[in-house]
Amino acid sequence: MDRRTAPEMTAFQLNGVVVEVEATPGERLSHVLREKLGAKDVKIGCNAGDCGACTVLVDGVPLCACLMPVQRAAGAKIETLAGLVKADPHAGALVNSFQAHQAAQCGICTPGMMVSAVALLREIATPDAVQVQDALGGVLCRCTGYRKIIDAVVGAGAVPSAETAGDVGTSLRRLDGLPKVTGMEAFGDDVAPAGALVLRVIRSPHAHAGFTLGDLDGYLAAHQGLHAILTAADVPGLNAFGVIPGFIDQPVFAVDHVRFRGEAVAAVIGEAAVMAQLDLEAFPVSWAIRDAVMEVNAALSGAAPQLHDGRAGNIMCGGHVACGDADAALGRADVIVEGHFTTAFVEHGYIEPEAGFAEMQGDRVVVHACTQAPVMDQDALMPILGLPRERIRIVPTAVGGGFGSKIDISLQPFLALAAMKTGRAVRMTYERVETMQSTTKRHPAQITMRIGADRDGRLCGMTFDGDFNTGAYASWGPTVANRVPVHASGPYRVSDYRARSRAIHTHCVPAGAFRGFGVPQSAIAQESLFDDLAAQLGMDPLDFRLLNALDNGVPTVCGQVFAKGVGIKPCLEALRPAWEAAKADCAAFNTVNSTLKRGVGLAAGWYGCGNTSMPNPSTIRAGLRADGTVVLHQGAMDIGQGSNTVIPQIFARALGVSVHQIALVGADTDLTPDAGKTSASRQTFVTGNAARLAGEALRREMLSQVNASPDAVVTLQDGTVAVTDGAQHFVLDLARLSPNLKGYVIEVNESYDPPTKPLDANGQGEPYAQYGYAAHLVVVEVDTALGRVRPLRFTAAHDVGQAINPLLVEGQVHGGIAQGMGMALMEEYIPHRTENLHDYLIPTIGDVPPIDTLIIEVPDAHGPYGAKGLGEHVLIPTAPAILNAIRHATGVRITQLPATPARVRAALKEAGHA
């Protein structure tokens, strides 16, 4: 007899409790666990078994819950992270070690990692690194670079070290770390109220097409449970968004034609159960396909369709920096190298797809979603919704990775419009293919560069020409165009320089902000050519770089001179022991191996922190309550990088108390002042300074209550504020002070804006108040017969000025290297073809080799306690270091990224390798 399990109930044990649930035939276990049983600790990243975030134990066996029909779970024992943390001693140990090792950054993959690790530890109590890699190989992480996860599982049995007081310079665990390792963290898809309507977007399947919407009223009427359809006609204000004034060009809903595959044309809103069964392919829209240009050269040709009025030739904008006379210098150079380099679209690959919900609260619309920039979300929604700022509230959820793409709005306008139209709470989560098709990417670049040197090895002229495929809409393309010429020299003294960049429109997904804003691409060209130059000069590549490295008092290509804080030389010097050892190791290996060849490569990088020559303020609020609690309103979005920990550490140092005594209020446009966007490696520097100023101001206010001297010691204890000034001891009489409307007896608001100066027509000026510096070394092994490149180990030196939290510094370094590795070796987003996480490859736990992080501290003149930004600096040297190592191993220069096995093999053959 058939056992028809629908519409009957399915019963199983969930974390020790018998549950019974009604589900549709073949409903994914992941969906049932999250939506019907409240197990939001089971994360969904791809719904295809590619990311492993949804891993649960079924009768002790790790499985992707997204690939399991719930009916098959009948009678089984299901364990998720939240249950394991309560009941399983291995999970308890992992909770500790994951925090101690900085193994969770954004936290979205953490449940999958930890559940997989529990299954391993049940079989093997003390696994080695390889066993951990095998067991966790099915879970993707985009933040950590995996090595800390390996360490955390290998070291799960170790006794945890005592937590520190958390002063600046100490490796404090994340203050927000516990929810990430217990499954309690609430991301974009975890916060919608029960009964929220669901929104889905109708998107173009074509890169360039006209379209006509059919009978929408008829469609609505024909589908019971649908509440509304949104199109361009439903946008009350401006049907456009963007991030840069003058470049607000992307419609919320396309009006009559689309410019890229994945562009939104309409949205359907309905009851969750109805939406789950809705076939979007039947939506009434007809398409008229038009010719599309997908590459820069095609877009620049005379016959190319023009994407936007006023951007003739599909050229959106450009950037230019020049100093000295580059052509004359190249004319007198003893040695000149030239190269042409191309890079691909790179997908951010955060494991959390865009998600959130919106609802009305009175006449206000409130959007809860993952974001890197809550106030910019507000800025973007105001004209679209036609509402003033005070009627829009942005409540960021935890962010499961961003890396630049979540600076732009994505689903926020859809949700807000839907809530306004229906009056109901409306939620949405992008599908993996949707996030890959429609959200911004790293710009593909075509770069031609010439660099000269005199016979002593000093640089003598440099020219750079770069065209960047900016896709269909502007997003952060202008920023990339501006930043690249400023940075393309690398952190070197170049007296004669000319760099030009252009952002070119194509019918591709918009390219925008991605960790480094174009600088990783330019560094590939410059650092590769530096090795070619060194080879032609017969110089050691490290010596060549040191000879030409920037220094205090030496002007940059923008003519900016720093009196202190230029840390590139110490970074390069720090690599020397590893460099000399690796050269010897590789030589020894290569004498006894013919097919496998090893090489060592290095590369340097720099990155200006904050906006380029533009205002870029952050504001921090803090207050003292009458009950003696110090509250820090910290609005800098923590997308995994650690601002929820670093900013309080800085504030606590300035106030002169332990960070553990500070109560935190997280980002919310109603509660936290604008700390700017989490981008451009600016939070530690800019918001950190605002936090320092706020801590100092609060301290001054406290001390002034008792007329204590500036050196007095503030002690927060048992609801009192005590001040010890030499031999004198005071206790603030908080009861005498009257609280303000926010409940504070003392409130401070402090802002910081980095001092920059505008760039003139030749890009001369002071674009950034601060740069951070980096140098990487990598040893690779090339299988010359197959073209496979395997990095074996990295040494990464980073000048961070002052490490606020060395544990978090290492986390950023590891994660950036993993992304740089991916960019170098495997990542290539091709519209229409790699729109999922099995055709688009990011590094797995088996790919990232050990990383030795060398923290260099050359204090900055402006940074809080000398600190510099770090996030983006990391991946800038990684890819060129790998390419230089391939060259060292094989003599072959790879100029097209990613260096896939097929491309490397083709280059090897061309160079005459067997």
Binding site: M68, G137, G138, L786
Partner: protein
């Protein structure tokens, strides 16, 4: 629309005979293919069908139940001829995928890059298909007809794979080339089953995946290897492989690699897979 958990083959076949049911086993290919589209028709779950999971002696060969998972393959006690199949099992997706995905599902999904196919072809696998009309068998090579295309009729279940008896000393190997570790679709892969006696290859079976619409055995190469001294084969390496040996292959160019590259990688991998099998002779304990 219903979800039917079949307890027996008879139940499963009866359900499929009604004409609107799709088979689901591990679900590792079914769900990604389905995406977020709503389900049409019934799902017939065959993972609890009696006797469809595990390895059983079958005359002088083996019978592998269709619903055997890749983890089952890894954990089974099998002779060294199956080492290639085991190595392939380790390469299927990830632990999570190996715990769910089935050997029959891998074959019925008919991806040109199915990890399980080359080792099974090298072992001379025969598939068993059952329907209410009866049971039929055919060589795996005939069952696979093209990308996503097999000889399975809509109401048929791939119930088992039969592996004929292998020489006592037969040693299997498998190599997969991808752009990363774990969770990767291969650019090319090769399985070999090699029998060496008195330092000569007496039998060789070699199959290549991801280099043609369906994975292919290389009979000319197998014939050329047979009778050769192990030393000569190891010394020659990829130089041993001629274009004629690879003539069954017709690789395409895609995001993972060019056709030319695949052809060349196939030759390299063939030589290495044979060398691995030779190197492991007598050292494998199953």
């Amino acid at each position: 629309m219903a979800y039917l958990v079949a307890a027996s083959l008879t139940e499963a076949l009866a359900a499929l005979d009604r004409g609107h049911g799709a088979i689901i086993a591990g679900g590792t290919d079914w769900f990604p293919a389905q995406g977020s589209r709503p389900l049409q028709g019934d799902l017939v779950d065959i993972t609890r069908v009696e006797g469809m999971r595990g390895f059983m002696p079958d005359g002088s060969g083996w019978r592998i139940g269709g619903a055997t998972t890749w983890t089952d393959v890894i954990r089974a006690g099998l002779p060294p001829a199956f080492d290639g199949l085991k190595a392939a099992a380790y390469e299927v997706g990830s632990v999570q995928i190996q715990n769910a995905g089935t050997i029959a599902g891998n074959l019925c999904n008919a991806s040109p890059a199915a990890d399980g196919v080359p080792p099974l072809l090298a072992l001379g696998a025969v598939v068993e298909l059952a329907s209410t009309a009866g049971t039929r068998r055919m060589p795996l090579a005939d069952f696979l007809q093209g990308p996503r295309k097999t000889a399975r009729r809509p109401a048929e279940v791939l119930t088992a794979i039969h592996i004929p008896a292998q020489p006592d000393k037969a040693q299997g190997s498998f190599l997969k080339l991808g752009a990363r570790h774990y969770l990767v679709i291969s650019i090319a892969m090769v399985a070999a089953v090699v029998t060496v006696e008195e330092d000569r290859i007496v039998k060789a079976a070699i199959a290549v995946g991801s280099c043609s619409a369906t994975a292919q055995r290389l009979p000319a190469l197998e014939a050329d290897l047979t009778g050769r001294a192990v030393r000569d084969v190891l010394l020659a390496g990829a130089a041993l492989i001629t274009p004629a040996h690879l003539s069954p292959l017709a690789p395409i160019a895609d995001v993972r690699g060019s056709a030319e590259y695949r052809m060349e990688a196939a030759a390299t991998l063939c030589a290495r897979a044979v060398a691995h099998a030779i190197g492991k002779q007598g050292k494998s304990n199953g």
